[in-house]
Symmetry: C2
Subunit: 238 residues, 2 copies
């Protein structure tokens, strides 16, 4: 089963885009009367019955609605410094959505290798990952400076984690006991966070964590973080 | 720092391949007297001093040897059913090596989508991942049928895990207590393991595990498994 994406599911009749219609009729070989599933990426998942199975414009009648489909009690916000190679961020977005993430921020740090990122392209990748992975939540994505992100979270009641390569920092993410169900995880650039950024995070009581024994690339560290956080949030879904 | 790969490091003088020499002199701009690090992929890591910095054939004198560099007390053997799209196995190999894996088997299952795989190509990807990730262990890779793999492990003293999507199977990989430091993890094809294969694994006391709450693609499930196993094996490295 695969979801179709329709940002607006408020009406009871849905018309698929030409591209989605083609996929529905040509690839999935759906015909009138067949059931399809759609999501708006904002937590709504619906079952709909095809009433018009047309190559360019399929129309479906919504027969069942599921609100807050698979919503977690808390949230996971992944904040990662973009890598030089944009392709590595693309697969990170795809995999993070599959594993489960509510928000992805691309943070501009003191040691950032890359300050520009094609958010539009990443959003297209996010939508196709959303459809593939049967989740009804399209993560918010944005670009923000390290300082602004920390300011936004200054008074947020959540678990704030910063992953960096301090030899003396022995607490593994896997061993951290979360005090909430909402997690913000910061993953730095290849050059790691700057002393200034680390000091700033310490001031805001971020927990400093290690991701295993090895030095991982930025995108691998981010994915490792996604997996460990997902494992800790198991059972928090509706 | 990046390693160079040299399958044979038994002599005290090493000559790099033309390709490696070019990388050493042109990309890394190394010159005579500079130190480089090499691995044979079998646990040996050496520090060597460049004596000839030539574009086509660099020669280096080994000055320090580290045997069993970063060796874990146990091992992690990932056995995964190849996906239709070979690219997904390629990035899995790259990431698994970065995170840590001693062996990767591509298992042919009853529901396998793909029975042929370009092992040579995957070996080249493994070597470049090895160099990037500063590990001295090139994982063994092979293609094996599900039945043959289980026969090989019939009398092996290790933790045998099988990941599959059983609604009634509630034990999460994250919650499993390993009884050894050696783990075999089986990841099935998109169509999952067949009842016959599951029965066979049960006979051999495989623990059946879930990988989070969501249905993950084969390669994502495999990577999720790598991360959770790596987190459990933290501290077992030399």
């Amino acid at each position: 089963m695969q979801f179709f994406y329709q940002p607006d599911l408020s009406a009871d009749m849905v018309t698929l885009s030409p591209e989605e219609s083609k996929h529905c009729v040509k690839v999935l070989r759906k015909s009138c009367g067949d059931a399809i599933f759609l999501t708006d990426g904002k937590g709504t998942m619906v079952k709909a019955e095809l009433v018009v199975a047309d190559m360019d414009n399929c129309t479906a009648q919504i027969v069942e609605r599921y609100e807050n489909y698979g919503q977690r009690k808390g949230w996971f916000h992944l904040a990662v410094a973009p890598t030089k190679n944009p392709g590595r961020m693309e697969w990170l977005v795809e995999k993070a959505i599959e594993i489960g993430v509510e928000q992805i921020s691309f943070i501009i740090c003191d040691h950032s290798e890359r300050e520009r990122i094609d958010l539009k392209r990443l959003e297209r990748i996010a939508v196709s990952a959303l459809k593939q992975s049967n989740t009804a939540w399209l993560p918010e994505m944005n670009i923000v400076s390290f300082d602004d992100l920390l300011t936004q979270y200054a008074s947020c009641e959540c678990d704030k984690l910063m992953a960096w390569c301090d030899e003396n920092n022995q607490s593994q993410l896997a061993d951290i006991q979360f005090s909430t169900k909402s997690i913000l995880l910061l993953i730095g650039p290849e050059g790691d966070f700057s002393p200034r950024e680390i000091a700033m995070a310490r001031q805001q009581q971020f927990k400093e964590v290690k991701l295993g024994d090895r030095r991982l690339r930025t995108e691998t560290a981010a994915l490792y973080g996604c997996c460990l956080v997902a494992a800790k949030l198991v059972g928090t879904e509706n």
